[in-house]
């Protein structure tokens, strides 16, 4: 251990939860908002969720159909690349496993896309196997627009920019296409436990 910041002590560390906080992160109790542009306002009558790309019969749900899908309520820790982590967040939504049930695909990668043009890339391994959801409730309430409502992607084991707000679908792909932040200096996978924040981390 080399450098020490003269005069810095830091907060008392909460040992009970510290094993749940990845390196370089600190915990918050509120819910900060981060996005690169204005918050899109979505008309639910025109909202759809699609699975397209490397798939024989693309799938599509309207808002009503989506709400009728089997849902799950999960409690997860989330980690933002801007350093905050929020423990025990509760979400209701549809598991990607449910959405991809019966889908045959040669794809190993995906691009999750959103209203407003935002995209993020994820391997199929990272979004299947009970690891990812399309969430429409947070803490028992409809998801607010600034937090990605009406629905956002939820991939809590990766940095939170992968949990795309205002999500509208998944494009299945044979190759990896870096998404919005992944093209703007951020890591292609973004595992907080390996501190994969930026290119080359």
């Amino acid at each position: 251990m080399g450098f020490v910041s003269r005069g810095f002590r830091g907060r008392r560390r909460d040992t009970a939860s510290s094993s749940r906080v990845p390196p370089g992160q600190y915990t918050v109790t509120d819910f900060p908002v981060l996005s690169a542009g204005p918050t899109p306002r979505v008309n639910l009558d025109q909202w759809t969720f699609s699975i397209e790309g490397e798939i024989d019969e693309p799938k599509r749900w309207t808002w009503k159909e989506f709400l009728a899908l089997p849902s799950e309520t999960v409690t997860k820790d989330i980690h933002c690349v801007t350093k905050w982590s929020k423990l025990d967040t509760t979400w209701k939504g549809v598991s990607v496993d449910t959405l991809t049930e019966g889908v045959e695909t040669a794809a190993e990668f995906s691009t999750v896309f959103s209203d407003g043009g935002y995209t993020t890339n994820l391997t199929l391994d990272d979004i299947t196997g009970h690891k990812a959801w399309v969430a429409y409730e947070f803490d028992g309430q409809p998801l607010q627009p600034e937090h990605g409502g009406p629905a956002r992607f939820l991939v809590p084991h990766l940095y939170f920019w992968k949990s795309a707000k205002w999500v509208r679908g998944i494009r299945l792909q044979k190759e990896e296409h870096p998404g919005f932040w992944e093209s703007n200096g951020y890591h292609v996978r973004g595992d907080p436990w390996q501190e994969q924040r930026y290119w080359g981390d």
Partner: protein, 245 residues
């Protein structure tokens, strides 16, 4: 990876009662674009570390790297940076980071007028853009709309006045949301459509818009501009979570 390096504090400049600029000599600084940020890492003598992100205030052309930091009383890092840190101390950082909320005078987009909308310490990355513009040979028209709580909370007030007085196409407009000082000729209300119409270009001029501030400010300002029919694709936002910093 973007490597951690040690900068030396060469100057501390109070900007407001709660905000100070840290000028750093960073020997291996790779250069940056206006609008980018750095990660700062503090290490206690028992090995405990914590990191935060701070926007860069200096222009790419400046010799020293400047960060401008608002002290949050319940924060863990900002009271150290604004309060404990002294000239001669070393500070560990890495960067530059972020490739989206950036403006370069040499880009194609730089032909568009530049509309900068700042709330509180959200002015920091926008100041980097204005300092960069001042140093550039090609200067598009620019407008800063800067919202602060009170007059003493206005960051860079004198430098902004100097930049605006240069007569090179920059206009600077302040609004105060919690105070009406006697003799004040600027606005004293939250940013609204009438104010934007007063100071900025109409949407047909297709300005490149950068909005930075606390979340509620950015949400309101971006929503206002979209409602006024500015192209959302040209509105870039950066939010300062006033959280734990």
């Amino acid at each position: 990876m973007i490597k951690w390096q040690l900068g030396t504090v060469v100057e501390l400049r109070p900007e407001t009662p709660r905000v100070a600029s840290l000028y750093l000599d960073v020997p291996d600084w790779p250069g940056h674009r206006a609008g980018q940020h750095v990660d700062v890492r503090l290490t206690a003598d028992d090995g405990y570390q914590t990191e935060r992100s701070y926007s860069i205030a200096s222009a790419p052309e400046d010799r020293r790297l400047a960060l401008t930091v608002e002290r949050l009383e319940d924060g863990e890092v900002s009271p150290y940076l604004v309060g404990e840190l002294r000239v001669g101390d070393k500070l560990e950082l890495r960067g530059p980071i972020g490739g989206f909320f950036v403006w370069q005078a040499t880009d194609d987009q730089a032909e568009r007028p530049l509309l900068l909308v700042a709330g509180g310490s959200g002015i920091v990355p926008l100041m980097s853009m204005l300092r960069h513009r001042a140093a550039a040979s090609r200067k598009p028209p620019a407008c800063l709309l800067d919202s602060s709580r009170t007059l003493e909370d206005v960051i860079y007030v004198q430098e902004l006045a100097r930049l605006a007085a240069a007569g090179d196409g920059l206009s600077v407009h302040h609004t105060l949301t919690r105070e009406k000082p006697s003799g004040w000729t600027g606005y004293t209300r939250r940013i609204d459509a009438a104010m934007v119409e007063d100071v900025a270009w109409p949407k047909d001029a297709m300005p490149a818009v950068f909005v930075c501030g606390p979340t509620s400010f950015v949400e309101a300002a971006a929503q206002l501009l979209v409602a006024m029919d500015y192209d959302p694709r040209w509105i870039k936002t950066e939010r300062f979570g006033a959280t734990g910093g």
